[in-house]
Symmetry: C2
Subunit: 373 residues, 2 copies
């Protein structure tokens, strides 16, 4: 059975949404009406930056999908088929991926109709997003796992109910491995006994392992997370949930295009996932480093710089045009300094003087509130 | 403190090897001799397939590295610097990556000599391999973490000693997450209470999650591993260790170039890591599928095939030329069938009829010994 978490729906609620969706269509058919549903427009023109909340989200534009419409008829039918499959997955209390869903559709619809309803998974992906946006529901609520990535250690416990079992996992007792953050951190997952007082997100798994070995999370009572590169949906959602519990969120990344991108995706959400901005963005997040001003503070870093690539410089220039970035003077200064010096710094450089130097760097940055907003 | 595992050296032994290496050089200098050490030749001409063991390994050719040699002098000095740093890491009982090592070298050698000793990490990587091959030691024994990837669930416990703590982790109690396989599964890691009777390796994490949710590992008393794509060094080493405990190893991958490659890397080792073939290859491994003969057995799969890509076909042709593959008639038949039909199959297709179909597929394959060698 699914259990209700902090800010999410239960399996019963997801099921009800799907049933209401299906019944609406049946009613229209019985009333000889054109079956129709409405979803949020996800095109660029409806992606907005909500200045008050500090997140990227969708505006108010909606789009109709209708069956009696030569351009939409096939896709409409496909969307209904997806909804039916997801309803079945919830009933079975089993999970799969959009790839598994795709093959189920190929299997079952291939028997009823003469041609394969889905030839390419690329056809089904936007329809799943249509359904998520139409029902105001996440694919994870439809028992569809997204790619998982990310790892965590800290003073908190996770109650994980899966495969009919209920397991309490203590994230302070997982050795060098840490807890692998799942795709879905809402349904059937509860965070209990959260004793940690802050969250530190570290871009690279290698640095996470370094800090984990030093037990930094224990000494500072932090939750130490690595998204292991760009943050997956589950990790972004988890960071949001921890922020909802009142924990400050610090991010420690490379000082380059990729590191900035990972930070801003965590902070404001992203254009691709604008339709779920509210649930995965953490505008409270702070950027600890690596920053260009570190070069002034830590002299040794000057022999550790690398030449910024064309991608880094292009990205820095683009970022200066984003209203959610250029509203922060600190970021404008940082990016201009990159463009001027044409240099960048990796977070690994902070192991230069000694392996544990990086711990002190982080502690000092937090203590002195030396971060970018 | 490091603890001795199944087939590996202790930290004290690694340290001793480094010290012997250093003392040898000092002695030569004091004797006014040219400092020299010998390492295994790692070029293609010294990579051989050991038919008896069924692994790819290095032959007997060795190469000398000497200091008084204009072509080698800089690299010799760099190798000694790497050895000194690793000796320090072992003394500190701290780990880093080759990237962290690189920045330590830049930091400390930059102070003593006028120019940076390492400008690019590409310079230090082959030197680490030189040292591994010279000392018959793995980089993991030198406290250098390689990238980690891979996940595990099953009836076994792991005793993990790190950061001065000793933690027992029960791999049957980690919920949907599983145990994240570390870079180093020898030093400071012990596998205790291994009750499982076999190992199932599943290429894709998504399928691993599917099978984990069904508790297949519990029902069949298997250790369920996903390398999450190509297997990292740690995962390959772990599979070898489990095979050493007498557990049969079954591999379930996509039936395409990438799936075959992942399988053969696990089974025979790889050309790149030929210098450590003995410790990471598992020639006992069997390939459960997906195979072309599945198309005859499971009729529904015929509507789930994809066109093989140019890469798949080229790879199939190449594989037919490898002596470690073409000695198996079953693989010759499989690859010829791919070349003839120009089709391929993903492991995800086995979720077509129902999500749990894949469990039955695996159980039946094992029960009927339907595998490729």
């Amino acid at each position: 059975m699914k259990r209700k978490g902090a800010s999410e729906q239960t399996a019963a609620e997801s099921k009800e949404k799907l049933e209401r969706f299906g019944k609406g269509i049946v009613k229209e058919i019985e009333g000889m009406e054109n079956p129709t549903f409405s979803t949020m427009a996800r095109g660029r023109s409806n992606v907005i930056y909500d200045e008050k909340k500090g997140i990227i989200k969708l505006g108010d534009q909606r789009e109709e999908r209708s069956f009696v419409n030569t351009a939409q008829s096939k896709r409409f039918m496909q969307t209904v088929a997806i909804a039916a499959k997801c309803h079945k997955f919830i009933n079975e209390n089993l999970h799969t991926t959009i790839r598994g869903l795709f093959y189920q559709l190929k299997y079952s619809l291939g028997e009823d109709v003469d041609e394969n309803i889905f030839n390419e998974q690329a056809e089904s992906n936007p329809l799943i997003e249509d359904l998520e946006a139409a029902l105001d529901i996440k694919r994870e609520d439809l028992n569809l796992n997204a790619n998982r990535k990310g790892v965590l250690a800290g003073n908190l416990k996770v109650m994980d109910t899966f495969g009919g079992e209920r397991q309490e996992i203590d994230a302070s007792k997982l050795g060098r491995s840490g807890w692998a953050i799942p795709s879905d951190v809402d349904n059937e997952i509860d965070f209990v006994d959260v004793k940690a007082k802050s969250v530190l997100v570290v871009e690279k798994d290698a640095l996470w392992q370094r800090l984990n070995e030093d037990l930094l999370w224990k000494k500072e009572n932090m939750i130490l997370i690595s998204p292991q590169g760009q943050a997956a949906r589950g990790t972004r959602r988890l960071i949001r949930k921890l922020a909802d519990m009142g924990l400050p969120v610090y991010v420690f990344n490379d000082g380059d295009a990729w590191g900035w991108y990972i930070y801003w995706t965590i902070k404001t959400g992203s254009i691709n996932l604008a339709y779920m901005g509210n649930s995965i963005a953490t505008p409270e997040a702070k950027f600890l480093g690596v920053t260009m001003s570190d070069l002034k503070k830590y002299d040794f870093l000057n022999k550790m710089t690398m030449k910024a690539t064309e991608v880094d410089l292009k990205r820095a220039q683009e970022m200066l045009n984003y209203q959610w970035i250029n509203r922060h003077k600190e970021w404008v200064d940082e990016l201009k300094m990159v463009l001027k010096t044409k240099l960048k710094l990796e977070q690994d450089t902070l192991q230069g003087p000694r392996l544990t130097f990086v711990d002190d760097y982080i502690k000092e940055k937090i203590r002195n509130k030396e971060w970018l907003p």
